[in-house]
Symmetry: C2
Subunit: 353 residues, 2 copies
């Protein structure tokens, strides 16, 4: 039987790539960045005032001057002003350009202004204080964010800063989720006594949506010709096909045979794990098929353990780190299988999961 | 100054509610469930075959019979069949109704079938084996999922099972995010030397989108009449207004005064924390205003620390558990403020964050 490690390797070596497209910034969160974000100017782009107050030439303060005539106001968003008298000051607002001829900003809290004269009331003033100097965050031409990363709010902020109203991102995979079996009816139907509603495909579609992917749902009846026709079409139009059920040893499990007819090579069937032992995986080179067991816990586990890493690898992302947690009680499992235990995770006050 | 705890309490006591609506199942993931999910029938709704094989009446096996004539096939999705001869068997498929007159299922792996006779090759057969009995998961009428929870794939699976193609969920809040300051230009504009592009609002909108909420963006210029007009309209049309900048002590910070004119009561201004000290919060009863400091780290921190709990409380959800982590090195911070340290989180092999 294929081990969990072998199955993982086979799946990862069948990663695909989905191409690229441009999307507006407000739709880019959670997608995969495919271009470097480069500083188009210095950041800050000018010596930037970082407190409301007055701007002075520091050497006057150093020489003992405390009262400065206010020449005017340098507002944020206004072109750079200049002191006309080197020993005067300008009122300055947070975000404004530091006026020509000044090199220190004193906060309103540290001065009084009367009759157009600002008097500094503290003794501890430093050169360049309350000034965010040009280019100290980034210099023009620097790569601030490298491509091939997941776009979070931080990357959105950088993209906005460097003037990217659109971003080049990975296309998403076209994913189909297939239910199998004549016992299944749609959610909005009233099942007969021997029928049940489809639920597993909705559970899987929901989990896939949490990975940012919208899946298309299809159903395979227990009829070979119909299975062949639907599978052929689904394989043509999708990068990944997820199935739940349909690959066990049953008389009416036509799926493995039909997949073979359609040139989907079986890469493994059955993994030494519980749950999810009957997991089947194959590929025709352009579409991969994850045929999960019909049991909902199995298929959900397999989706997270196998499909998600495949998705990350296909996106060119590093695999997610695997958190370790401490079991609250012993768990003993005898068979020679990898066991995936369902647990609830709690955060201990000692930092322990 | 308001403490972090006081600020949190004030914000949570100003939680709102956004009303309810029905959404299709495939759009319900991540939303807040507002109805109980009740089993509309027993689950399983019938004694369900859980392995492919044959179904027999166990007492014949017990009496020593090993060869059973195959009467036919009970397929999944087919109405319940019955044995015509009590000592015969039916082939049964996973998911099928257990045929009338049978009470044990033997897997294909444990028998051989020749000339229409199935011969059982194992000795260890139990009554009711490989049968998922009617009602053992849930009995009709049981509440399976209680309302007022976040809808995950598990809830989607339950909703599908009990026949809910639509779910009653919380409406989302109408959130506005406002940039302030004449130094800002749009992302697609080429800034003049004294201008910078808006980025903070895009960062916040991205973070809010990760909470499932689409925000509307507005801009307040440094002009009192314009601020009044825009704020009046924004307050009318939104449940929460998030601002970055505009509430400091600057000469051109008209926002606090205008908010007061518009009957938005200031509930606190300045919190004893770093970053985010100048945080301002108010409400007019139907709309809350989070005026975050203009610094991007501050506003991002405040969004997560204050807006997110407000959102959860407004949705009627329990607050998220706060994970504890172990600092990798000492960090010393002197001022008498609550300090929010930016950290990277790693999962240790010993289960420690």
């Amino acid at each position: 039987m294929t081990t969990v490690e072998q199955a993982t390797q086979i799946i990862l070596s069948n990663a695909l790539s989905f191409g690229e497209k441009k999307v507006p910034l407000h739709q880019a969160t959670g997608r995969i960045l495919r271009e470097d974000l480069v500083a188009d100017r210095d950041f800050p782009p000018f010596d930037r005032v970082s407190m409301d107050g007055i701007a002075i030439k520091f050497e006057y303060f150093e020489k003992g001057k405390r009262a400065f005539t206010v020449e005017g106001l340098q507002a944020a968003g206004a072109p750079k002003k200049a002191l006309t008298e080197a020993g005067n000051c300008l009122e300055v607002m947070t975000g404004a350009v530091l006026p020509q001829g000044t090199d220190a900003v004193i906060r309103y809290e540290d001065l009084s202004i009367n009759d157009g004269v600002a008097t500094i009331q503290i003794e501890n003033v430093r050169l360049l204080q309350n000034i965010h100097q040009k280019g100290t965050d980034q210099t023009a031409g620097t790569i601030i964010v490298r491509k091939d990363c997941l776009i979070s709010p931080a990357e959105i902020g950088v993209a906005a800063t460097v003037g990217k109203p659109q971003l080049l991102v990975s296309k998403k995979p076209r994913v189909a989720i297939l239910s199998t079996g004549d016992e299944l009816v749609d959610v909005d139907e009233q099942p007969l006594p021997h029928q049940i509603r489809k639920s597993n495909v909705h559970n899987l579609a929901s989990a896939v949506s949490q990975m940012g992917v919208t899946a298309n749902l299809f159903h395979l009846p227990d009829e070979k010709a119909a299975i062949r026709e639907i599978l052929r079409e689904v394989l043509n139009g999708h990068d990944a096909v997820l199935m739940s059920g349909g690959v066990s040893a049953g008389k009416l499990d036509f799926v493995p045979g039909v997949l073979e007819e359609l040139k989907v090579e079986k890469l493994f069937h059955k993994v030494s794990q519980r749950p999810g032992k009957p997991f089947w995986f194959g590929s025709n080179g352009s579409t991969v098929v994850f045929a999960f067991p019909g049991n909902p816990v199995s298929s959900f586990m397999c989706l997270h353990r196998y499909f998600k890493p495949w998705l990350y690898k296909s996106y060119g992302l590093p695999l997610l780190p695997v958190p370790h947690a401490v079991l609250a009680e012993d768990f003993i499992f005898k068979p020679d299988l990898t066991y995936f235990l369902q647990v609830g995770i709690e955060y201990g006050k000692d930092g322990k999961l």
